[in-house]
């Protein structure tokens, strides 16, 4: 995946470039908003990592311009301003994700992988956690047992719940968050729909694969995998 890194702090840009290249990403670096807009005029980028505090054209301004051009280019904001207000502002203007400095490189890579899979630029559309494999493009789920993959059949909604949890492995998904991925606006949601889907999923998946954090939501843990 080709990434455009817009960051005015040179040491940070260099270190980040090195880390990301190690992970197999192609990184182009520019240090001003003007250069970023010039670089974005060509369709060479798959994703933008954008620092908000830029000299000249501000990061938010760059983001607005990208969205004004009706571009669906994924934008990940990276900033030292970590207050909720600027986070909300960034997401309002159409940023896909947000990381506050000092960020954890593993966290950044994990989020880049999610985008990569969504764009289909990933070398594989498979998400593997523990014994479970989820193919995001073929909409299929396999469980590895004795080195052989056995396909498990789930309904469309059940698959979407599992996908939401696996894509965000390690992060709790609240009932409301999962619901928002299942239903369109105005569609009637049964109050225990998510619970019913989870219950069905658990029957076929390994024990304790989907964990419940009481009162908060559900999580698939990827740290033990």
């Amino acid at each position: 995946m080709r990434i455009l890194l817009v960051e005015d702090d040179l040491p940070l840009a260099n270190a980040l470039q090195q880390s990301l290249q190690q992970e197999g990403f192609v990184v182009n670096h520019v240090n001003t908003g003007e250069l970023a807009l010039t670089a974005l005029a060509t369709p060479d980028q798959d994703l933008v990592i954008l620092d908000l505090g830029l000299p000249g054209i501000d990061g938010i301004e760059v983001l607005k311009q990208i969205r004004n051009n009706k571009s669906q280019l994924p934008v990940l904001i990276l900033t030292a301003r970590d207050s909720i207000e600027s986070k909300v502002q960034g997401l309002d203007y159409g940023a896909d994700d947000y990381l506050a400095k000092p960020f954890d490189i593993q966290e950044l890579i994990a989020r880049l992988r999610v985008v990569e899979r969504r764009l289909g630029t990933a070398s594989s559309s498979l998400i593997c956690i523990d014994k479970v494999k989820l193919d995001t493009s073929a909409h299929k789920v396999y469980i590895t047992e004795n080195n052989t993959d056995v396909e498990v059949h789930f309904s469309k909604k059940e698959f979407m719940v599992l996908k939401a949890l696996m894509e965000n492995a390690g992060r709790i998904q609240s009932r409301e968050q999962i619901e928002s991925k299942l239903y369109h606006w105005g569609e009637e949601v049964l109050s225990n729909a998510v619970e019913v889907h989870i219950h069905k999923l658990r029957k076929s998946l390994p024990n304790k694969f989907i964990q419940n954090v009481r009162g908060v939501g559900y999580i698939i843990d990827n740290t033990t995998a």
């Binding site: 270190a15 880390s19 909720i84 000092p102 490189i105 709790i172 609240s174 225990n192 619970e195 009162g215």
Partner: protein, 502 residues
């Protein structure tokens, strides 16, 4: 008391008092003038009577017993005595001498004697004049009711006072209007100032025509702009410090990561020719476990934590918190905080649970978020691996019209000795001082921030020992009046919490 009220009342009181004194004085003077006038009249009447009597003296002398009654319409009464005999009197005068006889002093050497006195007869008080001629043994007594004098004096004084009373009324209205008009700029200024939000430092948009207020407004505007600049500096300091400190910290973190990657790569390459060549993952784990690398990464984390907490303390100043209070769903906020901290909690294999209805709280959301992050991450740090953390909210009804919202965080850690309860809220205080378990990242600011935020919201923090988990129990109680909060019982949320761990 407002200046306007004070001025109007004082002026009105002074005006009334002075007019009253003037009226009293006028009354006195009028009375004196009136009585002098009447006395002169009495003397004139007496002289007239004597003159008339002397013109017909013989007739009267002969008929001694006959008393001539003279009908007269005026307010006068008179008696004419000759050698001790009443010879002539007005119809309304009695037969007795009006003036007591002994007042007819014979010892007086003067021939003609005038004597004024006040006597009662016919159920009235009279002003009398007794004119005595000792040679002719004549006495003329003329009397006039005092009432007449008073009536006249009153008429005069009323005539004089009436316009004054009307004048007072008119003047009061005028004074009121003038003062209100005069104080209008001051009132405008007061309204403008009281309508201001605490964080509004824009200059006053008022133009005063009088020099005093012009000065006040100019000074106030100067003060506002200086305060604004000071607050702006403070706000910018926090934002600038965040940027300046966090970017190099990110560089440090990335480089630490890159060093580990590079060194392990190099090691893997160097050893690739060796007989028992190990994969890169092995060397990665090796390099990561170097003491110096471990300490480097943990120090970087610690520094990030300290910077965060100092900035948080800075960000949660009371002015900002008071100005940006909103109503929000406390349950959602707690879910969010737990989600954010879940990685840390999982790392220590702890079990966390949230028990909360959809409770709405009116507060500064960012600060409450921070408060909860600090409380839960404290529980996470000081609870041993595999421990238990419980977060719950409670709505209690004190009276019919007031409710309290409590957030309770309990853990199964060691807890805090009751003797330390009051000290843990001090800034930079850590239990055990420098012997504090250095494995735990912290700077002693966490609970100080919690206390600060709670104080600004008027919330109460209570530390106690958890009955169920045996660790520390922190209760933060927000005083909430009924109209401010809406506690919605949401059965859907309850069904989530009842979900089993299958």
């Amino acid at each position: 008391m407002s200046i306007r009220r004070y001025l109007v009342l004082t002026l009105f009181a002074v005006l009334t008092l002075i007019t009253f004194i003037a009226a009293v004085q006028g009354y006195k003077v009028s009375m004196t003038r009136a009585s002098t006038q009447f006395d002169e009249q009495l003397i004139d009447v007496a002289h007239t009577l004597i003159t008339i009597q002397s013109l017909v003296p013989q007739e009267s002398n002969k008929s001694r017993v006959g008393v001539k009654n003279i009908d007269q319409q005026g307010s006068f009464a008179f008696q004419l005595w000759l050698k001790g005999q009443l010879v002539l009197k007005s119809a309304n005068a009695p037969l007795q001498n009006i003036v007591s006889t002994h007042s007819l002093s014979s010892s007086d050497t003067t021939i003609e004697q005038t004597h004024f006195s006040e006597v009662n007869f016919l159920g009235q008080r009279w002003r009398t004049l007794s004119l005595t001629n000792s040679i002719k043994e004549q006495q003329v007594i003329v009397a006039q009711p005092l009432q007449a004098q008073f009536v006249l004096a009153q008429d005069i004084i009323l005539a004089a006072v009436k316009p004054m009373i009307i004048a007072i009324a008119l003047l009061s209205v005028l004074i009121f209007i003038v003062i209100t008009q005069g104080l209008k700029p001051l009132k405008k200024l007061t309204i403008e100032l009281s309508n201001r939000k605490t964080n509004d430092f824009t200059p006053l948009q008022l133009t005063a025509k009088n020099s005093e207020l012009e000065h006040v407004i100019a000074t106030l505007n100067q003060l506002f702009s200086r305060l604004d600049a000071a607050f702006e500096r403070e706000r910018h300091f926090a934002a600038d410090a965040a940027h300046e400190l966090k970017t190099p910290l990110s560089v440090l973190k990335l480089n630490a990561h890159n060093v580990v990657q590079e060194v392990s790569e190099q090691l893997a390459q160097l050893n690739s020719e060796a007989e028992s060549s190990k994969p890169k993952a092995f060397w990665l784990a090796q390099v990561k476990s170097f003491t110096s690398i471990e300490q480097l990464t943990s120090s970087v984390d610690r520094m990030g934590h300290v910077i965060d907490q100092i900035l948080n303390l800075n960000r949660t100043n009371p002015e900002q918190m008071a100005s940006a209070s909103t109503a929000f769903n406390l349950n959602k906020l707690l879910q969010q905080v737990i989600s954010e901290l879940y990685a840390q909690i999982k790392k220590r294999k702890q079990n966390i649970s949230l028990e909360s209805d959809n409770v709405e709280l009116v507060a500064h959301q960012l600060s409450i978020h921070l408060l909860m992050v600090n409380l839960i991450s404290n529980a996470n740090k000081y609870t041993p691996e595999g421990g238990e953390i419980k977060v719950r909210t409670e709505v209690t009804h004190q009276h019919a019209d007031s409710e309290q919202i409590s957030i309770i965080v309990e853990d199964s850690g060691q807890g805090i000795a009751p003797s330390e309860y009051h000290r843990v809220f001090d800034r930079f205080y850590r239990i055990g001082g420098d012997q504090h378990n250095s494995n735990v990242v912290g700077c002693g600011l966490g609970l100080a921030i919690v206390k600060h935020i709670a104080d600004v919201h008027g919330a109460l923090i209570t530390l106690s020992s958890s009955e169920t988990l045996k660790g520390l129990k922190v209760t933060v109680t927000f005083p909430v009046n009924a109209p401010k909060i809406i506690a919605m019982k949401n059965s859907a949320v309850l069904s989530t919490t009842k979900e089993d761990h299958s």
